[in-house]
Symmetry: C2
Subunit: 223 residues, 2 copies
DNA sequence: ATTATCTATAGATCTATAGATAATGC
DNA sequence: ATTATCTATAGATCTATAGATAATGC
């Protein structure tokens, strides 16, 4: 016996096994939390989806909130890191002539590309994040993981809009992130509202429009 | 005994008593649901906040989801109706020359004014709605209660932007509602991000900027 | 008489812990 | 020997129903 034909009991090292199980748990939790939120999902739901016993979740995670935060943190560092790099690169390239649209393209497209290219797990994470962002406790998680990138974006926007009051720039960002989160949520509402003309999961369509749309908004605030 | 001095046991008719208790239950549920969502709130939490026994909630409402929908519906008709009227009036006044900014001002300001003038209960409802809008099941409630107003707005925007593809107008609305919902959510994030420069509950500040900002966005989509 | 409110309780979960078992690791 | 996984279970809730009590209504 051992590996091969049955394809079921491939012998894995403990480290591998641990890593695989952890990822499966996080994927399942991510999916379920994205639909029902922290309180709408039981550890049993998650365990069943993975096909393990509930108590195993306690072996890997202290409790439910800890699991929730782990789901948030896993991909937050990826998107935050990528966007930070991309913004740094853009700031260097643009020198003292950055544009609002340029900065927004980098900030938004880099994020949207992750979901577009990342398949189902990343799409689940998108909805998970949107849900988190909308609540008082969730917003604190956003602070912890995303403040640096957002403040980086804001600093570039300030240079692109030297005559715009700082307050306006923050409100502009508030609008941008609202539009982005509404996209990530994929509630299905725009599909039905538009009679099928637009689709919630068509992030390409959003990517094509959002930076230009929002950049014009920032410029309009000056007037 | 009876009315007066103690101010506690004012004699009320059954109809009054029913109406008062119902409103108290809805207010308490609205507040709690706005913070924790359907699954994060127990009927006991609601009952305790009202100061009645849990089972009384079952006397007035069939079950928890029914209570949740009642909370949603109570004020939805108010804001939907008001905005519908205001949009009809605007459409009549503007004749065949409506503007994007004009229509958005009516649609958004009429809503924001309700929260600004309605005090705490309306502010709780705002957060409640934002939370609902962000989820697949919640979005269906939005459809039921808000499709008519939104489609009215869209029809005016179409006349204001005859050369813009319908698809773009729907995506534009998607961005607008995202920004609005992010406002209604009052997550506190913009407060901390801006170092106190902006405040989540400053709906006046949003009202001052959002229509102009979004109108410019719509116009930019044509280019 | 009717309706608002409370008492008592069944039945179902849910979280989290203690301790057993079955794998992998040297 | 160590670590991954499961069994058994305590203790706490939570929803929802049945039936009692205390008000208001004529």
């Amino acid at each position: 016996m051992s590996e091969g034909s049955t394809a079921k009991r491939v012998r894995r090292s403990k480290a591998e096994q641990r890593a695989e199980t952890l990822e499966q748990i996080l994927d399942a939790a991510e999916y379920l939390f994205s639909l029902q939120g922290l309180h709408g999902v039981t550890l049993r739901d998650v365990a069943q989806r993975v096909g393990v016993h509930t108590t195993l979740l306690h072996y890997y995670f202290q409790d439910k909130p800890t699991l929730f935060e782990a789901v948030f943190a896993r991909r937050a560092s990826v998107t935050s890191g990528r966007r930070m790099e991309a913004l740094d690169l853009y700031a260097a390239e643009a020198g003292d002539k950055p544009t609002v649209e340029g900065a927004l393209h980098v900030f938004l497209d880099t994020d949207l590309d992750l979901y577009i290219e990342g398949g189902e797990p990343w799409m689940n994470y998108a909805a998970f994040c949107a849900r988190v962002s909308n609540t008082p406790e969730g917003a604190v998680l956003m602070d912890v993981h995303f403040d640096p990138v957002v403040l980086k974006l804001v600093s570039i926007l300030k240079r692109a809009l030297p005559d715009t009051p700082e307050e306006d720039i923050f409100w502009g960002y508030h609008f941008v992130t609202g539009a982005l989160m509404n996209t990530l949520a994929r509630s299905g509402r725009i599909d039905r509202l538009s009679g099928g003309l637009c689709r919630s999961n068509d992030f390409e369509a959003v990517k094509k429009r959002i930076a230009k749309f929002m950049a014009a908004g920032f410029h309009a605030l000056k007037d």
